[in-house]
């Protein structure tokens, strides 16, 4: 068990600056997820922690030791790869025992550890099989088992579930969470799937273009995104954005655009007032929109035309046109709407997000 500290970490590949000044402190027993689109530097960061990629500048500490110059074998970590990386010429038992053999554990200890891990993962009946005889899910379990038997200080996961089908992915996600709760080993998990990030992580690190955008607990990212990128990346369906003009009129602050005229609630009007006269980005999550009823006031609702209806069962997603903007509203499954219907959508004024028109940082 150990904490991992990353200080001013940078990586440059032949002129490409892949990771820029990443700072991160991962506490003992914490499960941290790095998430972001392809090429955001999350995997490179993980590989630098693992020692598979050299560090251009900055420091990585595991426990309280700077590991920059240590080879992977001396860092006391275990890694699970996207393509499982099982040794194809060894059976499941030998795959799991390899790391222990390399470290000179005695035979009895190796057997008991492998058996225990196989028991946890439910693969004790496959110990004599070769990897090619296993299903995708079983292979992933073996890869997990190979990490578990070592009792390392840190688990590193590099998109371990990406090769599995959707149903199995959800199942294995739960399993990884259970294993973490049971073993309490510090874990760093890389994924491009924000649902995985939200469900697994104690804290989530959102990255883009090699830069950390925000670090926080899942709900913190969801409720208080630091910028427009995080707001759009976290949450499904994604947040709706519209460029609006802030205008001070009639003693209140208004967010205006074609088809939209919303009164900014008093609570946040204070810090938005200095943007009066400027264009800012308004963000509304689909779940914060609903079909307006008689009680809704005109300054917290707008007209929309239904374009597409997606019935998910528990809710209905309405793709609507609001002025020139397209938005998605997640409404009650009881709503009866048809394509081309005109309806009025009300929003939850306490859950509006505003982002600076230039820097895109949250206001």
């Amino acid at each position: 068990m150990a904490r991992v500290i990353i200080r001013n970490l940078n990586k440059k590949f032949d002129g490409v600056h892949a990771v820029k000044d990443v700072n991160l402190e991962i506490h003992d027993k914490e499960f941290v997820v790095l998430v972001g689109p392809s090429g955001c530097g999350k995997t490179t960061t993980l590989r630098m922690v693992a020692g598979l990629e050299s560090i251009t500048s900055g420091e990585v500490l595991i426990g309280d030791r700077v590991v920059n110059e240590l080879p992977p074998m001396d860092r006391d970590i275990a890694m699970v790869f996207q393509n499982y990386a099982l040794y194809p010429h060894m059976n499941v038992y030998d795959n799991m025992a390899f790391g222990l053999k390399m470290r000179g554990f005695d035979r009895v200890e190796i057997t008991s550890r492998v058996q225990a891990a196989a028991e946890i993962l439910g693969i004790h009946e496959q110990l004599n099989r070769k990897p090619r005889q296993l299903s995708g899910g079983q292979r992933q379990r073996v890869a997990l088992g190979r990490a578990i038997v070592r009792h390392p200080q840190v688990f590193l996961f590099d998109e371990p579930l990406s090769n599995l089908d959707a149903k199995l992915r959800i199942q294995m996600r739960v399993e990884i969470k259970k294993i973490h709760v049971r073993l309490g080993t510090t874990a760093i998990y890389v994924t491009h799937d924000q649902v995985e990030a939200m469900t697994l992580g104690d804290r989530v690190v959102v990255m883009k273009d090699g830069v950390v955008q925000q670090v926080g607990e899942p709900l913190e990212l969801y409720n208080e995104p630091a910028n427009r990128f995080v707001a759009g990346f976290i949450g499904s369906p994604a947040m709706n954005f519209a460029t609006v003009e802030m205008a001070d009129a009639d003693g209140a602050l208004w967010a205006r655009h074609e088809g939209i005229r919303i009164k900014v609630p008093e609570g946040i009007a204070g810090r938005l007032r200095r943007h009066a006269g400027e264009n800012v980005t308004l963000g509304i999550r689909p779940e914060d929109l609903r079909v307006a009823s008689d009680g809704d006031t005109a300054d917290q609702s707008f007209d929309a035309v239904v374009e597409v209806i997606e019935k998910l069962g528990s809710q209905i997603l309405l793709d609507v046109k609001v002025g020139p903007n397209t938005m998605v509203a997640a409404v009650e499954p009881t709503v009866k709407a048809k394509v081309h219907d005109h309806l009025r959508l009300a929003l939850n004024p306490d859950r509006l997000h505003f982002f600076d028109g230039v820097s895109q940082a949250a206001i």
Binding site: M79, F81, F98
Partner: protein, 283 residues
Amino acid sequence: MIEGARWRRWIFFNLPLTLFVIGLLFPFYWMVVTTVRPDAELYRPWMAPNYTPFWTLHPTLDHIRYLLDETLFSRWMLNTFFISVLATAISLFCGLLAGYALSRLKFPFAGSLGTGIFITYLVPQTLLFIPLADVIRNFRLGDTPWALILTYPTFLIPFCTWLLMGYFKAIPRELEECARIDGATRWQAMVYIVFPVAVPGILSAGIFAFTLSWNEFIYALVFLSSPEQKTVSVGITSELVRGDVFYWGSLMAGALLGSVPVALIYSFFVEYYVAGITGSVKG
């Protein structure tokens, strides 16, 4: 498989395949028939009433007996075997390390080094033997097996290196990375993980190298002169063709026996060999 009517399969698949196989195997059949044909039949003119070119009614082992008793054939076999095994071992060893380094390690000029090795393979042996003859003479290796053991790698190492390099590149990098995280050094990861996974590739490189050395002719012809040092390919053609007299029966017997080891090796390892050429590693 070809879809469609039965006649279509016969015309486009079975018939050409049969012709192809017959065409390929006929020289071997000719070799066998000539080996067991008595001299009287061998030198019978084609207009003779009992001329039977494709079979013989009086098979004999005389030619084989002559080959084994009256010539140094068994010595040549031994020479060839010794030379081929050692040349293959040297080339495979160098090829493994070079192929691994070129496919996995980052070092300056790795790319140009790989190309350089490939270019040496492209220099034809028929040119290279001239300078090599000088080298062999300077080291006083002429007329010894070492003349061949040390010169065969000049074309075997580039060949093995390139074949293995391609094979190593097809092995997922993660396997090795995982082994190194698991506690193996780079060397251990190579020996315990990469090499075992690459066995089909290593075997096919070895078989190829062995076959090339076994069949090699020009270096053996130039660098060896005394009959007891010769290899099979040179021994047969130089000792069984005297002046303009061809000892056809023994020549063919020598060719037949000389190709047996290679044929055996191929048939044993054919599955590995095919996997090595098509190069697939499944995780």
